[in-house]
């Protein structure tokens, strides 16, 4: 038995280029005669634009053109929303450049195009804009009160929806335990390290747009629909992309405008954002108020869960804005059995940057509320938080299991992951230390936080997306070109931006075709090469895109089998395929894939009706989501005198199904945990009452550095997914989804003897200290913002 490539911790093929600076970031690219675009942005959260005068800018050195919103046709600059989640949703007009009214700080109101980026920046100052201030709308609850100033004429409620499963009233009626909490999911700034950049050129007829995007394929369709440039005249390229985390899953105002400027001027244009421009105008994530009620029996068994979300849309809908909170809809019940579940969500417009997908998108929010309230339930019943979970979770022998919200979880083993995590963590020993510190009244208290999460990944089965009123399908495409010399070019529609597709896809293909790992290359991210795809988000690449590549390989093998049978003068059924060769059973005669590749190329001796190629392609559309799960345990030390929180240890045991490359999978888990910890302890996008973004730079928005984080201990259990032939479940979002409640549960656990029941994220020293002080003052323990 030869060793398989799948499962090996292969070092990445991508690295050498990235490590030596031979990169293709969009900002590295240029075109002869390129012009630089800069945007004049609104300093007001809400105002009527009474005058925009760009004439002075037009006369400045190097300036080729300057435009305001009225210089563009309305129809060509209306930004798309692809997820009208309910029938009666109100989708306000969203021009790429504001014309008459601005609704968030940073909204573009004018632009200059100049021969040099410094000269373009100089010219921005010469643009004169007069505003008539309107009241900012910053608070969701206030926004929904009658008489509130309106963000849009149609009102501040974007939509409202409710789903109910089981008899929720019966579940809560006479329930021995009812717990009621309000959690705040603060607004986050995704902060991919590479700022957005765009380059656009035309030959007078057709256009090429290079963009730092996660979604070149989706972008091409949407730009064609928006601008009216025919799809076949538009090529979109995502070169090297420096991280996305959902923030580059977007059709941006700048992409639309750069394309229109190129068409208008007939010259290449380029735009690269500054970080502070990006903090203002790359879509934000999270931002919900979560009202959560849970009913349970005295033994801790769950009866019902009631969730009511207020979700901040920001000022407009972007591509997926209204749907993101609804991704929580089927997931708040998580891994638990219950009799009834109700989920309601109201989307609210405010005068802030729109929100949209950020790593986990809806599922971190769902996991946070259920894992936080499960800890509250445990505390109420004086049970260990893991014990309360054990009494409610789906047991491994119960899979496949259809949950109260109607999803069918195909596989899982929560017991195994939890047992493994407890052993690695030294759970009992840490509990003993915690008890000791409590007894001693140690000013530094120990807290232990638990998160037994699941998530729905592999977004998504097209039929289910259709049912959810999503504007597209969820399939993925892959193709395999067998070159004359037997080398392989794989083309994937799932566009990577750091995930390591080239390496992982090479491993899959090496096994499927029996060719050396080194003989395979992977192409992506250019709609002229990878002509079909749905791109990268929602932990979908391997689970859907990897499977599409695998299925294309199967077709290559079938073609090769026919050719081999012809050349070996036998029946295809007499051939066995192993080690990259078709062998006539019981003999030594064989043809390798490489020999067959050359035979197909020369085409001198093909069977009748057989095309001279082994190349194949496949599209995979899953029938169900995949459901990674795991148990994350976090121990924190909380200094009760200063409020300082320090992570003492962090253990993650994830079950992501079969793993193609453990090195890459572990890296995804590490990075995911870091982002989830960052939400728990460090990050928050803060607007003031007038709508100014106070965290507009990296000096103000606290991304954790190496010094702020511990080493994470990670391990895996493996329950293969049954919905795809790889048995993979997806890993990109797991760490982020799991870790936030684990950390906050630990912080609250440390402080519970002091009467604290919640600390609002991020759990900064000030917030922790105030929660303690408030609890000691006899208040509820939940401090106002």
């Amino acid at each position: 038995m030869t060793e398989t490539e799948v499962g090996k911790a292969r070092k990445r093929k991508e690295d050498a280029r990235l490590l030596t600076g031979r990169t293709q970031w969009t900002d590295n690219l240029s075109r002869p005669g390129v012009l630089h675009v800069m945007f004049k942005r609104s300093p007001m959260a809400h105002a009527r634009i009474t005058r925009v005068d760009v004439s002075a800018a037009r006369g400045l050195p190097g300036v080729v053109a300057a435009f305001s919103g009225h210089d563009f046709e309305a129809a060509e600059t209306t930004l798309p929303c692809a997820w009208p989640v309910v029938e009666d949703i109100v989708i306000p007009d969203h021009p790429a450049m504001a014309k008459d009214e601005v609704r968030y700080v940073g909204e573009a109101v004018a632009c200059v195009v100049a021969t040099d980026r410094y000269l373009a920046a100089d010219a921005l100052d010469a643009i004169d804009v007069d505003y008539e201030p309107l009241p900012a709308v910053m608070d969701m609850n206030e926004a929904l009160t009658p008489g509130s100033p309106k963000v849009h004429e149609s009102g501040n409620q974007a939509y409202t929806m409710k789903n109910a499963f089981g008899d929720i009233e019966a579940a809560f009626r006479d329930a021995p335990v009812v717990i009621d909490r309000t959690f705040i999911q603060q607004r986050l700034i995704p902060s991919a390290m590479e700022p957005r950049a765009i380059l656009c050129d035309t030959d007078g007829d057709a256009f090429t747009l290079w963009s730092s995007t996660q979604i070149p394929h989706v972008l091409r369709v949407m730009l064609a629909v928006t601008t009216g440039i025919p799809e076949h005249k538009l090529r979109v390229v995502a070169p090297d992309v420096g991280g996305g985390f959902g923030s580059k899953l977007q059709v941006t105002a700048e992409e639309v405008l750069c394309l229109l400027l190129t068409r208008r001027l007939g010259r290449p244009v380029k735009w690269t954002e500054s970080r502070s421009e990006g903090n203002h105008t790359v879509h934000h994530g999270r931002d919900q108020i979560q009202h959560v009620r849970i009913a349970a029996n005295a033994d801790g068994r769950l009866r019902g869960l009631q969730v009511e979300l207020l979700a901040d849309m920001g000022a407009y809908f972007l591509l997926l804005t209204p749907g993101i909170p609804l991704l929580a809809g089927s997931m708040c019940n998580a891994i638990y059995k219950m009799d009834a579940y109700e989920f309601a969500c109201t989307g609210v417009f405010t005068t802030k940057m729109p929100t949209d997908a950020y790593r986990g998108a809806g599922r971190p929010e769902a996991t946070y509320l259920i894992e936080r309230i499960m800890d509250e339930l445990a505390a109420e019943l004086r049970l260990d938080p893991l014990e309360v979970r054990r009494r409610n979770w789906i047991k491994h022998e119960e899979f496949p299991f259809t949950t109260i919200s109607g999803l069918t979880y195909d596989s899982g083993n929560y017991e195994a992951a939890t047992d493994r995590a407890m052993a690695l963590f030294g759970y009992d020993k840490l509990r003993a230390e915690q008890a000791d510190r409590r007894d001693r009244g140690d000013p530094v208290q120990l807290g232990i936080g638990v998160s037994t999460y699941t998530e729905m990944c592999g977004l998504a089965p097209s039929r289910l997306l259709g049912g959810a009123r999503f504007g597209a399908g969820g399939w993925e495409h892959g193709s395999v070109r067998v070159l004359p010399t037997g080398k392989i070019e794989v083309i994937t529609g799932s566009t990577p931006h750091g995930q390591g597709h080239v390496t992982a896809w090479s491993q899959i293909v090496a096994d499927a075709l029996g060719v050396p790992f080194e003989d395979i290359t992977v192409l992506y991210g250019d709609t002229a090469i990878s002509y079909k795809g749905m791109d990268t988000y929602g932990s979908r690449s391997l689970v859907i895109g990897g499977v599409a590549v695998l299925k294309a390989c199967e077709k290559v093998r079938e073609k090769a089998r026919k050719l081999a049978a012809h050349l070996l003068e036998c029946s295809p059924d007499d051939l066995e395929f192993a080690g990259g060769a078709f062998k006539v059973r019981g003999t030594d005669s064989q043809k390798t894939i490489q020999e067959l590749a050359f035979a197909a190329f020369t085409a001198h001796d093909l069977p009748d009706g057989v095309e001279p190629r082994l190349d194949s392609e496949a599209t995979f559309d899953p029938e169900n989501y995949s459901f990674p799960h795991g148990t994350h345990l976090c121990a924190v030390e909380v200094d009760t005198e200063t409020g300082q929180v320090k992570i003492r240890s962090y253990v993650a045991v994830d079950d992501i199904g079969k793993v193609v490359n453990p090195l890459i999978a572990e890296g995804q888990v590490h990075g995911g945990i870091a982002q989830g910890v960052a939400q728990a302890l460090f990050e928050e996008a803060v607007y003031d009452a007038e709508g100014n973004l106070l965290t507009s730079t990296m000096a103000d928005y606290l991304l954790p550095s190496a010094a702020d984080l511990p080493t994470f201990v990670t391990d895996r259990t493996e329950t293969p997914a049954t919905g795809n032939p790889l048995g993979a479940k997806g890993v990109g979002e797991a760490g982020t989804i799991a870790s936030t409640p684990a950390v906050v549960n630990a912080v609250v656990d440390a402080l519970r003897p002091h009467g604290v029941h919640d600390v609002q994220m991020p759990c900064t020293p000030e917030r922790v200290w105030r929660a303690l002080a408030g609890a000691q003052a006899g208040a509820q323990g939940v401090m106002p913002r």
Binding site: L19, T20, M193, G671
Partner: protein, 160 residues
């Protein structure tokens, strides 16, 4: 316009520059040294870290005129004879990069850190890299890589 002379990755350049031109823009847009990226505008992220006369600097916070007469090494000039520097190799071995955008600066900062402390503890590595942000890796593998790089570089010094 001031004229400066600067050596970048072993090549000497004479350039007329505006006084306000940032060193990183000189490197990227005039000299074609696009291996050094820009990640922020407040000198927090460290993606643009390079060596100037043997010390790491954030090239977004240096004016090109300040580099007059200096010897600059970027990520593109680290390797010798086509092979990677031990720190670059260590980042590869330990999977210390994902998207790779922070990597040039991170590698430069790591090398500079070892100048002061050739055998750093985990804590010293974490503190030493505080000025360089990564959004992908959670830093675990970067710390491992710097350790490995330190060992390799130590070995290289011991066995000439």
């Amino acid at each position: 316009m001031p004229r400066i002379t600067v050596t970048v990755d072993g090549v000497k350049y004479e350039e007329d520059v505006e006084p306000r031109l940032l060193l990183v823009h000189l490197l990227r847009e005039r000299l074609g040294k696009t291996g050094t990226p820009v990640g922020c505008d407040t000198s927090n992220c460290g993606a643009c870290t390079i060596m100037m006369d043997g010390k790491s600097v954030k090239s977004c916070s240096v004016l090109a005129v300040q580099a007059d007469g200096c010897d600059v090494v970027t990520i593109e000039g680290l390797g010798v004879n086509g092979s990677m520097h031990p720190m670059q190799q260590a980042f590869h071995e330990e999977h210390a990069l994902q998207c790779g955008y922070c990597t040039p600066g991170m590698v430069m900062a790591a090398i500079d850190l070892l100048r002061d402390n050739p055998e750093p503890s985990e804590e010293a590595i974490r503190e030493g890299l505080e000025g360089n942000l990564c959004r992908c890796t959670g830093y675990c593998n970067i710390v491992r890589a710097v350790r490995r790089g330190a060992q390799e570089m130590g070995q290289a010094v011991k066995t000439p």
